[in-house]
């Protein structure tokens, strides 16, 4: 799931400055779930653009705008409207905008900002819990990830910034992750684990795995 948020209309109109004819694309995937690119938002956008003096040559809501083949097939059915447009406004996440830009020959404007999630959240909503770092440390931290639970992603224990209430001084709404880890380890009788010094993270492990890069999909993507 990629969470998106619609940009302010003024910013979108700034993008469209000097362009008259616009084709709007919405997305029935994450953007619909985010309430930023489903059919209702596309229709609202159409109205807003017309009010601002633009001509909307057509619109379409594709199941997943990040799926290039789907975008391509939808373009075939809307060839005339797309051709008549000066540009495309894509109401979706950054991946979708890039997919649309890759398959069309038109200037493609993003209508949304994609919010940081730091990796797939899985079904446990409400907080970011995995950064897909490629080198899981949860065994040593009582099953609480220090990369996501600590503002500074510290690996060797709390900084001096835990408040009296046990919150993080960077964001007082947030629990101090290392306090939670301490309490969990204490409960598990594993405080000894706090003595281990973590080596600095190998950030190269955050690259897509070699297996994926060598996969058929990757090769197709690269046009090999």
């Amino acid at each position: 799931m990629l969470l998106s948020q619609q940009k302010p209309l003024e910013e979108i109109l700034r993008f469209l400055d000097g362009e008259k004819n616009i084709f709007i694309l919405g997305c029935n995937g994450c953007a619909e779930a985010s309430g930023t690119g489903g059919k209702p938002q596309v229709l609202e956008m159409k109205e807003a653009l017309e009010k601002a003096g633009k001509k909307v040559t057509g619109f379409s809501v594709v199941d997943l705008l990040c799926q290039k083949a789907l975008v391509q097939s939808r373009f075939r059915g809307k060839a005339k409207e797309v051709k008549a447009a000066d540009s495309i406004l894509a109401m979706t996440c950054g991946v979708g905008v890039q997919a649309v830009a890759a398959v069309s020959n038109k200037v493609t404007h993003p209508a949304c900002n994609t919010l940081p999630l730091g990796g797939m959240r899985g079904e446990w909503q409400g907080s970011e819990r995995c950064q897909e770092c490629g080198d899981c440390v949860l065994d040593l931290t009582g099953g609480i990830c220090p990369l996501t639970a600590c503002s500074k992603s510290l690996l060797n224990g709390a900084c001096g910034g835990t408040t009296k209430e046990g919150k993080c001084e960077v964001d007082q709404e947030m629990e101090c992750g290392w306090r939670l880890i301490y309490e969990r380890l204490e409960k598990l009788g594993q405080l000894e684990k706090l003595r281990q010094i973590y080596e600095p993270k190998d950030h190269s492990k955050m690259m897509p795995p070699k297996g994926l890069r060598l996969s058929e999909r990757w090769a197709l993507e690269q046009g090999k």
């Binding site: 900084c159 960077v170 993270k201």
Partner: protein
Amino acid sequence: MGLQESLASKKFVVTSEIGPPKGIHIQEMLADADLLRGRVDAINVTDLQSSVMRLGSLAVCHLLQEKGLEPIFQMTCRDRNRLALQADLLSASVLGIKNVLALTGDYASLGDHPQAKPVFDLDSVSLLSVIKTLETGTDMVGNPLSGAPKFFAGAVVNPGGNPVEAQIFKMEKKIKAGASFFQTQAVYDVGAFEKFMKRVAPFRVPVLAGIILLKSAGMARFMNKNVAGVFVPEPLIQKMSKAEDRVKTSIEIAADLIKELKGLCQGVHIMPIGWESKVPAVLEAAKL
């Protein structure tokens, strides 16, 4: 005598600090440093304190060194990745700077460039390990260096941390990673500090208790509310709010604290935060 020798001699050690200015006018800062000449054993130079962009710590350490003062190069992990940290350590070494205080650093969003990308590629513990590794003549991935630098590395601990046990575990890690001395967050509650010192005495590493000069009752209340791990007891706040001469009372409070702390730890680290000129008076009042 360098900081390392002062600490080894078991005398009561005093360090203080100066904060580089935001800009390039350094006369006032150097005058502040001069006031400390002969009065303190070493002077910390803060590294973009409070995440505010300003003149860098390394250049100022060099200036102090040239003036015959003993600097402690504060180094945070907020703004530099592992390459830049190692490079700056080598730079410090060729400039003759030996004392390094390894810190994780405040988060970027707390300063004047909240838009900045915080780095935290290393943390205080791994920075200490890196310092130790450089001393063996290789970089942190094992490539040989032409010549091995020599440092005297220290770290910080917050005796008012929550929970304090977690701070103590981390302190132990820092010692294992190479910390040879500690400076603490500000101490006002001597009783609580004494308990902390009992816990860490087995580590046998010198601890310099942090002293922040109280400028007003308002500042004390502000710190109690907003600064993690700092607790100013109510009687001290009352004393400040009733003070006729705030500077005089502030100096008295700091000097009394130092006298009480003298039997508990190996020294004090005075953070004047703008009141640099008052430090000599504090030391006089504390009979140091």
